[in-house]
């Protein structure tokens, strides 16, 4: 079956890209070969003035290369040859004896945009689905079909670097502004605007006008490109700490090709791609990309269960979490009704809501007018009046079983029959909370992470009696609000906190034994976590962490014993960043180690980095293995996604269990046995790890 239809009408040829049996167009190896044969034939056709590249797919021009083909590359030479071939095919577009125009109405990404860059002209639409960019670095590689060079010449080094390093996907109007496309037209006008664009390209005078609008090199680009690279590198290092090779290769490539002729530059691009394509980081990022796509479409319940449509949301409790939840749902245009004990508490919760919105305005995602409208859709009350029309109510009051249960009782009296009642509890069992409810099937856990505005994960927890409709409704709502959702089993701490707290606890133990707070934080940050455990504990609030730890100790016993020193610290009224004093002392934007805390450390001894990392990570891996064994979560890849989204576990490592796989399960087992001997039974290898080590298995099969 062919992926292209060629059609010539009045000297205007159209190569219509329409991959059979697919919703998208991808540049796979076979598609590229078919493209080549078309180009070879077209080359000698005399009756053509203009060739248009178009797509027959709705909302898609070309979504990019076939990622599975990149994923399967394991040999640098093979990667080189394949990409070189692709580059060569696209360069044949340039060599055609007539003008070429890419008509971009829909996603035009990666290899797709590289194809468009190989055309003489580009016209895009204002279709909201039109997204243009070279996001290859997100997959740990770089554009290899000439994209880096063609884009650089089209829009300048600085903008090209920004676009490629930021993996930005921008809309048609912005692309026109950046001169990535020569015109951007309303989608309804495309037909006749395209006709006149073609006429302009064919007219010498008009064409000169189009050409004159193109980007012109500025002084900085011409005389001090090193300055551009210097700042780009600084930015990349700040963001990635050098853990991701692709952005570094991109900058290096730009540097090296700064004054090189095109053919040599293109050849360097291929080598850089080949080097990156076989790295573990790229493999990890691609596997996460697939895991994330899979997770996005996982229904979690059996087919045929329709989620309820949510228009009105109630939120009980306007604290940090409640306020964040109010913000989130108002942002996606739900009508939100907040109930708190008194109007002062309500007023206080508007502060963070307004702050979260002003950050969105600052990033130009919303206008002030839009924000005013959305905020206007938040209503507030001190009683349950106006809750009868809520489609879902999210409870976010303090972590106290009796208080929560009395809220559910009140709610069941006022809400409608099919209203879902969700709890944002971070550790209490959902089945236990639902005891005494008239309709426990409508009850569910919906655990957001703090701060709600920035943390992308929501854990959905089904209790014994939670219905599939309830699960489907909550999952849809969380996804509509832009969050990644995992469905986890009902256990204390659920998934993320249960695993993460073992690690925080272990780090606190190391501190108790004499390790330096700053050194542990630095080591863990070098490992790739967004912040060290003590900084994180301060951010969350030590009292909050302590409370959850107690719940976990109660549920899991000895292996989760809270380090006694934590209690001491709480008694010293050191509660973390909110009180300006925790493991660190906070003074405006600065933070210093808290000497008070160091003074209660019984002794100090140096720890090596591997020692710290092993203890911190293995205790998590061990707990994760238990979680998996208990079927709290579907599989290793979902667990890894959850840890990345919920704790910022470094994506370049592919996830916690991927990291365990990369160490080797036998080694993990051996290290755990050693740690158990040294530090006691909390390191006792989980059943699953023992079994996997015996059978030489890995968390990721195949």
């Amino acid at each position: 079956m062919s992926a292209f239809n060629l059609h010539v009408d009045n000297e205007i040829a159209t190569l219509m890209f329409d991959m059979p049996d697919s919703n998208v167009n991808l540049l796979s190896i076979s598609v590229m070969q078919e493209l080549e044969s078309h180009l070879d034939k077209l080359k000698s056709q005399k009756d053509i003035d203009v060739l248009l590249f178009r797509s027959a797919k709705e909302g898609i021009f070309i979504a990019g290369a076939d990622i599975s083909e990149i994923q399967s590359l394991n040999n640098e030479q093979e990667a080189h040859d394949i990409v070189k071939q692709g580059q060569m095919i696209l360069s044949k577009i340039r060599a055609l004896p007539f003008y070429t125009i890419a008509v971009i109405d829909g996603a035009c990404l990666g290899g797709g945009f590289e194809l468009a860059l190989s055309c003489n002209y580009r016209i895009s639409t204002q279709n909201p689905k039109t997204k243009i960019g070279l996001p290859e670095v997100n997959l740990g590689v770089l554009p290899g079909f000439g994209g880096t060079q063609n884009l650089k010449h089209l829009i300048g080094k600085q903008k090209a670097l920004e676009l490629i390093l930021g993996a930005k996907m921008i809309n048609g109007l912005k692309a026109e502004k950046l001169k990535m496309v020569d015109a951007c037209v309303p989608v309804g006008y495309l037909d006749f605007k395209l006709d006149s664009f073609i006429q302009a390209v064919l007219d010498d005078k008009e064409r000169a006008k189009i050409d004159a609008r193109r980007y012109k090199k500025n002084l900085l680009e011409r005389f001090a490109p090193d300055l551009i690279y210097h700042f780009a590198l600084k930015e990349v290092m700040k963001k990635t700490k050098g853990n991701y090779p692709a952005p570094l290769e991109v900058i290096e490539l730009f540097k090296k090709t700064d004054k090189l002729p095109m053919n040599e530059a293109l050849s360097l691009e291929v080598y850089a791609f080949a080097r990156l394509s076989v790295t573990e980081v790229s493999k990890n990022l691609i596997s996460l990309f697939y895991a994330s796509e899979k997770l996005k479409h996982d229904k979690f319940v059996k087919d045929g269960i329709a989620p309820q449509y949510i228009e009105n949301v109630g939120v009980i409790g306007g604290g940090v979490m409640g306020g964040g939840i109010v913000w989130l749902f108002s942002k996606i245009d739900k009508f939100v009704r907040l109930k708190d004990l008194n109007y002062d508490a309500i007023a206080a919760s508007f502060k963070p809501i307004s702050k979260a919105y002003s950050e969105v305005v600052k990033r130009k995602r919303l206008t002030k007018r839009e924000v005013e409208l959305k905020m206007g859709h938040i209503s507030y009350t001190t009683d349950y009046k106006g809750f009868h029309n809520a489609d879902i109510v999210v409870e976010a009051v303090i972590e106290n079983t009796e208080i929560k249960q009395s809220v559910y009782k009140d709610l069941e009296d006022v809400v409608k029959e099919d209203c879902v009642i969700a709890s944002n509890t971070s550790s209490l069992s959902i089945s236990m909370l639902s005891e005494g409810m008239e309709k426990p099937e409508r009850f569910i856990g919906m655990h957001f992470f703090n701060p709600v505005a920035r943390m992308p994960l929501v854990e959905v927890i089904a209790g014994d009696k939670t219905s599939d409709e309830t699960i489907a409704t909550v999952i849809k709502l969380a996804r509509d609000s832009g969050k990644t959702v995992i469905l986890v089993g009902d256990c204390a701490g659920f998934l993320v906190n249960r695993i993460l707290l073992t690690y925080i606890n272990e780090c606190v133990r190391m501190f108790r034994e004499g390790a330096s707070i700053v050194y542990i934080d630095e080591t863990i940050e070098e490992f790739g976590m967004p912040m060290g455990p003590f900084t994180l504990a301060d951010e969350v609030g030590l009292d909050v962490g302590y409370k959850v730890s107690q719940v976990l100790e109660e549920a899991y016993g000895k292996r989760m014993t809270v380090s006694p020193i934590l209690k001491e610290i709480i008694e010293m009224k050191l509660l973390g960043k909110k009180g300006k004093k925790g493991f660190y002392v906070y003074n405006g934007k600065e933070k210093h180690i808290n000497k008070e805390i160091v003074s209660i450390q019984p002794r100090s001894r140096p720890y090596s980095k591997p020692e710290i990392i092993d203890r911190a990570m293995l205790i998590m891996i061990n707990e994760a293995a238990r979680v998996l064994d208990e079927k709290i979560i579907k599989d290793a890849s979902q667990l890894d996604m959850a840890m990345i989204m919920g704790t910022g576990f470094p994506p370049f490592r592919g996830g916690l269990l991927k990291y365990a796989d990369s160490l080797g399960i036998e080694k993990v087992h051996m290290l755990l046995v050693q740690l158990e001997e040294k530090y006691g039974e909390r390191f006792e290898p989980a059943r699953l790890i023992v079994e996997m080590a015996d059978n030489k298995e890995t968390f990721y099969k195949g």
Binding site: Y343, I346, A348, S354, S358, E372, H377, S379
Partner: protein, 429 residues
């Protein structure tokens, strides 16, 4: 007899002194808040409303047909129509009576009606000279021409036209509303002291009512500054511990030489919104709702614009005739306090046989107003008079107060700039 119109429930925002706590909220935001809150508390599906009708006087330029803006902001679906009504100080009553007519004529069943005014946000305009200068500037093509146009500028170009003062001035007589109150004071020989005493009583009644939490039943608190986490819960116009001494000190505002009307014995300029849900009595019954009360009848009447303050006498004469009721049937009266002089003038007109004969085309006096049931919790002097909103507030307050007192029949009436009066007979049960 026509069917009564049920007022299911009503709410208002707190009333804020103009250029004060609610100055940063535009009229549409104020009103949308109270409209959505009352709709939520009443509990009917937003889609079941036939229309949203809002009274507003200043009609901000940025929100033409402000009712539509309010409806959409409040959460009504796009298919629910909305329009704005204007009958000056009775705009907030006009929205209710318009809805009443629509319900009675079968045009629709369920209405959201209300009123709003953000007097803080009534703009100050450039004067004619300055506007002409701007026009000239836009027309000037060259730089030299522009300079030439600008050279005509004089300081007098900068004298502003204050929209608020313009709005409160009758265009036909050229009299400010305060001046019409001065005329009434002269007509009826009302002294400054009488006026100040009336004002003092208004404040002390309102102060007591606020302390007793009476207003809390009609107020929907409003977040007035989200950024700083500030909410407004209570009216802020009431002067706690107001006394004669400080009232006496004030200088007359409108007639600086001989006048008696001061800022202290006039209603306050303020910002607020109010809304009610309306349907026919039978519809309410059918839906199993317990209405707050009912609108039994309404009447508007016209009179000399320069004596607009006596409007309540005219419209009440009309409504009594229409219903065959007597003043003695009425158990609670809310007569809007635009000016103390104007309320006192009404007291005199109501009980005067001569006034009834010469002006109201009646043989007997209207009947005296029992001051014990008049504005029992204070009025516009203490609380404020956000022009487009007051009409709705009077209806809500009369009904809630009737219920509190276990009484049945109330009169809500106000005077209307331009020479009109409005009266509503309200009933509970």
């Amino acid at each position: 007899m026509r069917e009564r119109i049920a007022v299911i429930d009503g709410l208002r925002t707190p009333m804020a002194k103009a250029s004060g706590k609610l100055k940063n909220m535009q009229a549409e935001s104020l009103c949308a808040h109270v409209v959505s809150e009352v709709a939520l508390r009443v509990g009917l599906d937003f889609d079941s409303y036939d229309e949203v009708i809002i009274g507003n006087v200043a009609q901000p330029a940025h929100a033409a047909n402000i009712a539509r803006v309010i409806a959409l902001k409040a959460g009504f679906g796009e298919h629910v129509p909305a329009y704005t009504v204007h009958r000056n100080c009775a705009s907030g009553m006009e929205s209710i009576t318009t809805a009443t007519d629509k319900i009675l004529s079968g045009r629709g069943e369920i209405y959201m009606a209300g009123g709003v005014e953000s007097m803080s946000n009534i703009p100050i305009f450039f004067n004619k000279k300055m506007s002409a200068l701007f026009e000239g500037l836009f027309r000037s093509k060259s730089f030299i021409e522009k300079i030439k146009t600008l050279s005509h500028f004089t300081p007098s170009h900068l004298i502003p036209v204050v929209g608020l003062m313009q709005g409160l001035t009758d265009p036909l007589t050229g009299l400010n509303m305060g001046n019409t109150a001065e005329i009434l004071a002269q007509d009826f020989g009302i002294s400054r002291r009488e006026q100040d005493e009336f004002a003092l009583a208004s404040h002390s009644k309102a102060e007591r009512a606020q302390k007793d939490g009476i207003f809390a039943h009609e107020i929907a608190p409003i977040i007035r500054n989200a950024q700083r986490g500030e909410i407004m819960v209570d009216d802020d116009g009431i002067r706690h511990g107001q006394n004669m001494e400080s009232l006496t000190k004030l200088r007359p505002f409108f007639d600086k030489r001989n006048g008696t009307v001061t800022a202290g014995n006039s209603s306050q300029i303020s910002d607020a919104a109010a809304a009610v849900v309306l349907m026919s009595e039978s519809k309410a019954k059918e839906m199993g709702l317990t209405p707050l009360g009912y609108v039994k009848e309404y009447a508007y009447a016209g009179l000399d614009p320069s004596r607009m303050g006596l409007g309540p006498a005219y419209s009440t004469a009309k409504i009594l005739e229409m219903t065959g009721m007597k003043m003695s049937d009425i158990e609670l009266i809310e007569l809007n306090e635009a000016f103390a002089a104007q309320v006192i003038a009404n007291l005199a007109a109501f009980e005067s046989k001569k006034y009834a004969q010469t002006h109201l085309n009646r043989t007997e006096a209207l009947g005296s107003i029992d001051t014990n049931i008049l504005n029992v919790n204070g009025g516009g002097i203490a609380l404020g008079h956000p022009v487009g909103m007051t009409g709705t507030r009077l209806v809500i307050h009369t009904l809630k107060e009737l219920r509190r007192r276990n009484k049945n029949v109330g009169l809500a009436t106000l005077c209307i700039g331009g020479g009109q009066g409005a009266s509503l007979i309200l009933e509970v049960e």
